[in-house]
């Protein structure tokens, strides 16, 4: 199980890109951290989620 934004989900073995697609999120407006380490955008396709990972997906919205 992988904790994504505080919620335990069965995403083990999926890549970050696949996780974002499952969540229907465009990669242009997010930052993704796994265990408090940023995942470089260029590595979304190759970074695989592991059992016990804690993932934070930050979705930015406009306005400032």
């Amino acid at each position: 199980m992988v904790k994504i934004n505080g919620e335990l989900l069965e995403k083990d073995g999926k890549t970050v890109a696949e996780m974002l697609a499952d969540m229907d999120i465009s990669g242009q407006r997010v930052a993704v951290e796994i265990n408090e380490e940023i995942v470089p955008k260029a590595r979304y396709d190759e970074t695989i989620l592991k059992d016990g990972d804690s993932v934070e997906v930050v979705r930015f919205v406009g306005g400032g």
Partner: protein, 212 residues
């Protein structure tokens, strides 16, 4: 009336904030990226608190549509925001060391332009630009603290705006969901709340208080 000396102003700040915190504030260096409703208010709060070095950055000019929430004056319409805000900050804190840049930040210039700052404030308005800056700083500048803002449009409640600590050196303020692209305008009071969260997070980091 002549303005007070640097010493007089420093002493007045010291009396209010305490000697130790004021020393930390004076030696701090903060970059504010984007000088709209968030950035202009954040920069003013930091200048008033006595932050020693501020770097203010925006590529845009003051527009009449900015005046409902951004810290500019009607007579400054058309001026580069960095220039107009510099003038205001200089009046507020004449001894603050302020660097201004009218430039569009991107992945090629962020690492060099922001290298001097201890703390980087993301205060852009476009969601993709916020993500670009945050990813670029977190990927390339691991020693920096980063304070971002996301979600402050509309007239939703004050108390849904909060500060979250996403990682050791990365904080986000806002409600996370109120998107200006959903048709809700930006209202001065709610933008100020988010700007206050961001400015206060910066001051707490400078003070060595990292919890939220």
């Amino acid at each position: 009336m002549a303005i007070p000396s640097e010493q007089e102003m420093y002493r007045a700040l010291e009396e209010r904030h305490g000697a130790e915190l004021q020393r930390k504030l004076k030696s701090a260096s903060v970059a504010v990226c984007g000088l709209g409703g968030l950035g202009s208010n954040i920069a003013i709060a930091l200048a008033r608190a006595g932050v020693g070095r501020l770097h203010i950055i925006d590529f845009d000019r003051v527009d009449i549509s900015n005046l409902n929430r951004q810290q500019y004056f009607p007579e400054q319409l058309g001026q580069p925001k960095a220039v107009a805000l510099y003038d205001t900050l200089h009046r507020i804190a004449p001894y603050c060391n302020i660097r201004k840049d009218t430039v569009k930040l991107d992945e090629t210039n962020i690492p060099s332009l922001l290298s001097e700052a201890d703390i980087i404030v993301e205060a852009f308005d476009k969601a993709d630009q916020k993500a670009m800056l945050v990813n670029c700083v977190l990927e390339n500048m691991p020693g920096k603290y980063l304070v971002s803002g996301s979600g402050m449009a509309g007239i939703g409640p004050s108390n849904t705006i909060s500060t979250r600590r996403i990682a050791k050196r990365f904080y986000i303020c806002g409600d996370g969901v109120s998107d200006v692209d959903d048709g809700m305008g930006l209202v001065s009071s709610r933008v100020l709340i988010c700007a206050g969260h961001q400015a206060h997070t910066v001051i707490r980091i400078i003070a060595g208080e990292f919890d939220i």
